[in-house]
Symmetry: C2
Subunit: 320 residues, 2 copies
């Protein structure tokens, strides 16, 4: 995969581009947030993030023939994302499609399809590796990321590191579920590079798979309203990362301790060892640490709530 | 106010700029979303939106001496927003501060302070008028909005139109409260130019002032997870606008009818007359229509819940 993606990135760098877009839906959309966050702080090339359903109806003037658009869909058949790819094709705008199924409508509609092989969900097939190769190669090519070779080395060790994160998280996750599995409303607070991950776990797992009501809120926005619904008996979870915005999360933590919350938990990426990964990249892989922890939480919530993660009320059950 | 703002806009246009930023916190941050949405579809100049607390810790590479940064704070003393303004000043980056208090830290830290006179909250002192003069004058100057003079005429009629919206909404709002005032969890769904307004009413009023738990979710994201928590007895409110993304809201509405929800309500801007306002601008003023409707809802929720909108558990009650 690495060589293929590097070829794509090198071709794009050679041809040039003026901005970069992420366009997708739901979990596949928001997974880009962590990379958008990093990119904004390291690149002079603007990055944008658009929801596919909205993009196809709107006329975003920044999307031009000088743009690169990255579209993601695990199944490769998310309607709005495929439609966006087709519209972009008609406009002769370069697109990259990251999918898990090669022969899929999205892969067949983009300039550069990338098929990611994510089968095992125990960490041994890390998600987002294609995106990392792609984006950091682009940054490297434009002299905005000197450590590319070191990053590639770390990526080799990523599968075993992420399998280990799940093991390290297991007891915490079981305790978490034990304490909170009956909480039918949970506020999840996360910011910086973990804003998207916090949002997507709340929406795509707690809400979609477990039918638990949630509010996900940015750490910096927490104090601008949402915190007023909390009392000591309302469940609240802070997702704390290792980027420059860590202090905002710490403020949330201090507040929750001050009000004497009995139902407060912290997922801190700092608590988890990433063996074989250079410390410089912990910020980049923070989202994957959180994925490891919440994957274990999901498993125990599934057990303790006696509610299969595969049960849906509506999705692929009825037409809407 | 108009002439002063036009002078600022004309000076900025003359001096030139490469991108435009909105930086603020909470309600004052998210109020910009509706304008960001419009701008993206009409301007070739990129627009970005950053939370102040995050901006001051990060190093957003797009913020340069060629940027224009608009900061908003009603009180003019929101800590992180003031800090952002001061950092920008040190970097010699041009800033515009929109406040309601002239002699305030924010007004004193920006290149161009604008004091908005919003006293009456019955619609007769419309919010965001300064922002509208500013942004649409800039668009006009760069040949991206020909109707500026027509817009100015409509703005003259805006106060009476918005007072009227509140009258038109009154019965709906009383019924809404009557039906839903006991709902301790409400999902609010809104997209396009109303994404920010939906988010901010849920957070800054329902959560902060009324201690009602909410989830606010984008219409296009609704189907990617959140909708699975809904059954026929879970309260859900759709905010439906008149921009190009209206069909996404209609899909939510159809779905809610299909599942036979007994606790579903729609706030549709189309239901409200804006007397004296050119139809071309309904999209621009849609957010203000929603403000009118939800202002009335707040009043009845305050009465029916017997819970003053001024009561706080934490904000300005304790240090955090």
């Amino acid at each position: 995969m690495k060589n293929g993606i590097e070829k794509i990135a090198d071709k794009i760098s050679k041809d040039g581009y003026k901005n970069i877009f992420f366009i997708a839906s739901g979990g596949s959309w928001v997974v880009s947030q962590t990379f958008e966050y990093y990119w904004k702080q390291h690149s002079s090339i603007p990055v944008f993030n658009e929801i596919a359903a909205e993009y196809v109806l709107s006329n975003n003037k920044q999307v031009t023939r000088d743009s690169i658009v990255i579209l993601q869909s695990k199944s490769g058949d998310t309607t709005e994302t495929v439609k966006a790819a087709q519209m972009l094709k008609e406009k002769n705008i370069r697109t990259i499609g990251i999918v898990r199924k090669g022969d899929s409508p999205l892969a067949n509609s983009v300039t550069y399809p990338i098929v990611e092989n994510v089968v095992n969900l125990d960490g041994s097939d890390p998600e987002n590796v294609a995106m990392i190769f792609l984006l950091f190669r682009l940054l490297y090519n434009q002299n905005e990321f000197a450590q590319y070779d070191k990053l590639v080395k770390s990526l080799e060790n990523l599968p075993q590191a992420l399998v280990s994160v799940r093991k390290q998280a297991d007891k915490f996750a079981e305790d978490f579920s034990n304490n909170f599995y009956q909480e039918e409303y949970q506020m999840w607070v996360g910011g910086g590079s973990l804003t998207g991950k916090t949002y997507s776990f709340a929406m795509c797992v707690l809400e979609e798979m477990l039918w638990i009501k949630t509010k996900s809120i940015h750490t910096a926005e927490f104090f601008h309203g949402s915190f007023e619904v909390l009392d000591e008996d309302t469940c609240c979870v802070l997702v704390k990362g290792e980027d420059v915005t860590r202090s905002i999360g710490e403020r949330v933590e201090k507040f929750m301790e001050k009000i004497g919350s009995k139902k407060f938990s912290v997922i801190d990426t700092k608590d988890y060892k990433l063996e074989g990964i250079d410390d410089d990249f912990r910020e980049i892989f923070g989202q994957m640490i959180v994925t490891g922890v919440v994957d274990r939480i999901s498993v125990y919530l599934e057990r303790d709530r006696d509610h299969s993660l595969d049960t849906r009320r509506y999705y692929r059950v009825m037409d809407y």
